[in-house]
Amino acid sequence: MTTFLLIPGLISDGHVWTATRAALEAGGQRPALADVTTQGDIPEMARDLLAAHEGPLVPVGHSMGGRVAMEMARIAPDRIAGLALLNTGIHAARPGEAEKREAMIALSAREGMEALAERWLPGMMAEGRAPDPEVLSGLQAMVRRMTPEIHARQMRALLARPDAAATIGDFAGPMLLVVGRQDQWSPIAQHEEIAALCPQAELRIIEEAGHFAPVEQPRATAGVIADWAAGLPQAATGKEPAMSQGDRIPDTPLFDRRRANAGYELNKMAMGLSTPEGRAAFLADEGAYLDRFVLSPEQRAAVLARDWAEMVRLGGNLFYILKISAVDPTPIREIGAAQAGMELQEFLDTRLGKVTNG
């Protein structure tokens, strides 16, 4: 099952994700909280998270966490089933940025986190709107839970951030961009920049929110993320068999409505082989026969490659797709072995080996 990895930004923790976490859980998803307080740079944060969290991941990153999320997608695109980026950006360090950040590092080192919170947080809130006292005190408490060392480490990690603008366009998976309408730190334009490189991205603007949208407008932000998560295609779950999500018996893809829908045309194509005309057409010109059906490029490729596991993953049901083996003979046990990911002999030995009679 896919994990939604919630990555906080600068001197932040799980407080940022309280509502998001609850909304994902309510939607039957599996959220987990990332720790990015110990690493010296963003690539190290990304590698640590990839190592610490198994299986397919959907990194959900806020601000600096968004940078980490993008770096994860660069390092291990196969494991990233989707990206949700909140209040973030892809631009490189700007002139004067280093000086400003060093000044803030000096402030927290000299005067402590309380002083830093006082100085730093107001600029993070929605512009032109008095901050909700409860929201503000929650964020202040969060900053106080951090240390000047964490602050310095993360600030320098940000200064040395990888060039996400050069790589984010390579990520073709589902992407959600979320930004507060009044985010002065990472304005809407920065998210439009990402959307320009990733046409699949969905950009959602949270009203009455600034840079801490998930805290300022927890319900709205969490709702946007949970809705997007619920709509993620099953095929986006990366390494795991795309359609096994929701199956309670391991490695057993029940032919439920989701698979029946996903595989309808694929199975219909195979059903067509139960007539002599269909078989003759398939044999005469397989490509032209397949063109009669609305197959996805993946389904078409799986049929052409006789990739049985992939056909099943894409909604094929054995009783239908087996008819392909009537036209292009393949023993059923070989089809079984291919799905089990075994050589035929190993499959026979380990699963069907022992003859028992009487």
Partner: protein, 280 residues
């Protein structure tokens, strides 16, 4: 009134049909499997039923996913072997017991089972194989048939409990049919097997043996199990075993298990049979 003479549970694995077609009945691989059916063949030859009610699932041959009847009942005069991709097999057409089937349709609907009624229907290995296993390869089938088809492919499939209740209703329908015909009921499918997913090739001979040992004498557990438990214990396609419950449900609580047989693997499937008679 018509009489229920017995119930047979049996696998309907298509490779059994292929083995017969290829003349492998006496081969080293298949002989032990087919020999296990000899007592049932002798029993049926002696009892000479007039009608066989065969409960099976279509395997994507007569029904496509455009319409999936949870329950379908054949009321036709004849049923031809389906083309499953290799062309129709050279076996005789089945003669339908359409009068009895219509009676059954009435009784089912009155009893709140609402099947799709099929007037023209080809039947696949789900019906062919059991008939060949108990009647061999005659010139013409010595019984008329009534096919009852259960959706076991696309979820939701019906529950085991519902299958049992269908069996109870079938019993009443048989015993309220005003002829003196003899009826045998064949519940088919299974035993353990899985064709789909990374667990493909899963069989569970231990559970299968317990099934053939207990389905007659002590079926309570199987009646109470969930669909998911069937899949867990017998594999995704092993859930076909719920169709044996129709057969078991139409028998008395007390039955004699006249014969049982188990063989694995038949291709990728645990295969076997039981032959039951009412004890009373």
């Amino acid at each position: 009134m018509a009489e229920l003479i017995g119930g047979l549970g049996t696998s309907h694995v298509p490779s059994i049909a292929m083995a017969i077609d290829k003349g492998l009945r006496e081969s080293e691989e298949w002989k032990p499997f087919f020999d296990g059916y000899t007592p049932a063949q002798e029993w049926i030859a002696e009892k000479k039923p007039d009608i066989a009610v065969v409960i099976f699932n279509d395997h994507g041959n007569s029904f496509f996913l455009d319409r999936v009847p949870t329950l379908a009942l054949g009321v036709a005069d004849e049923y031809r072997p389906a083309d499953e991709g290799w062309g129709p097999r050279p076996i005789p057409t089945f003669e339908g017991a359409s009068e009895f089937a219509w009676h059954l349709a009435d009784r089912m609907v009155e009893g709140h089972f609402d099947p799709m009624l099929c007037r023209e229907l080809d039947v696949d290995h789900g019906m062919q194989v059991p008939m060949e296993l108990v009647f061999g390869r005659p010139e013409a089938w010595p019984v008329k048939v009534v096919p009852i088809l259960v959706n076991t492919i696309q979820y939701p499939i019906p529950t085991p409990q519902r299958m049992w209740e269908l069996g109870e209703l079938l019993r009443q329908a048989i015993e309220s049919y005003p002829t003196d015909e003899k009826v045998v009921v064949l519940g088919t499918g299974g035993l353990s097997h899985q064709l789909q997913g990374a667990r493909a090739g899963f069989i569970n001979p231990e559970a299968d043996r317990e099934w053939v040992a207990k389905i007659g004498a002590d079926p309570a557990r199987y009646r109470a199990m969930t669909r998911e438990e069937y899949i867990e214990e017998f594999g995704s396609e092993g859930a076909e075993l719920i169709m044996w419950l129709v057969m078991r449900g139409c028998m008395d609580a007390e039955v004699k298990t006249l014969h049982k047989h188990y063989f694995a693997p038949a291709s990728m499937t645990g295969a076997g049979m039981v032959l039951l008679e009412n004890a009373g």
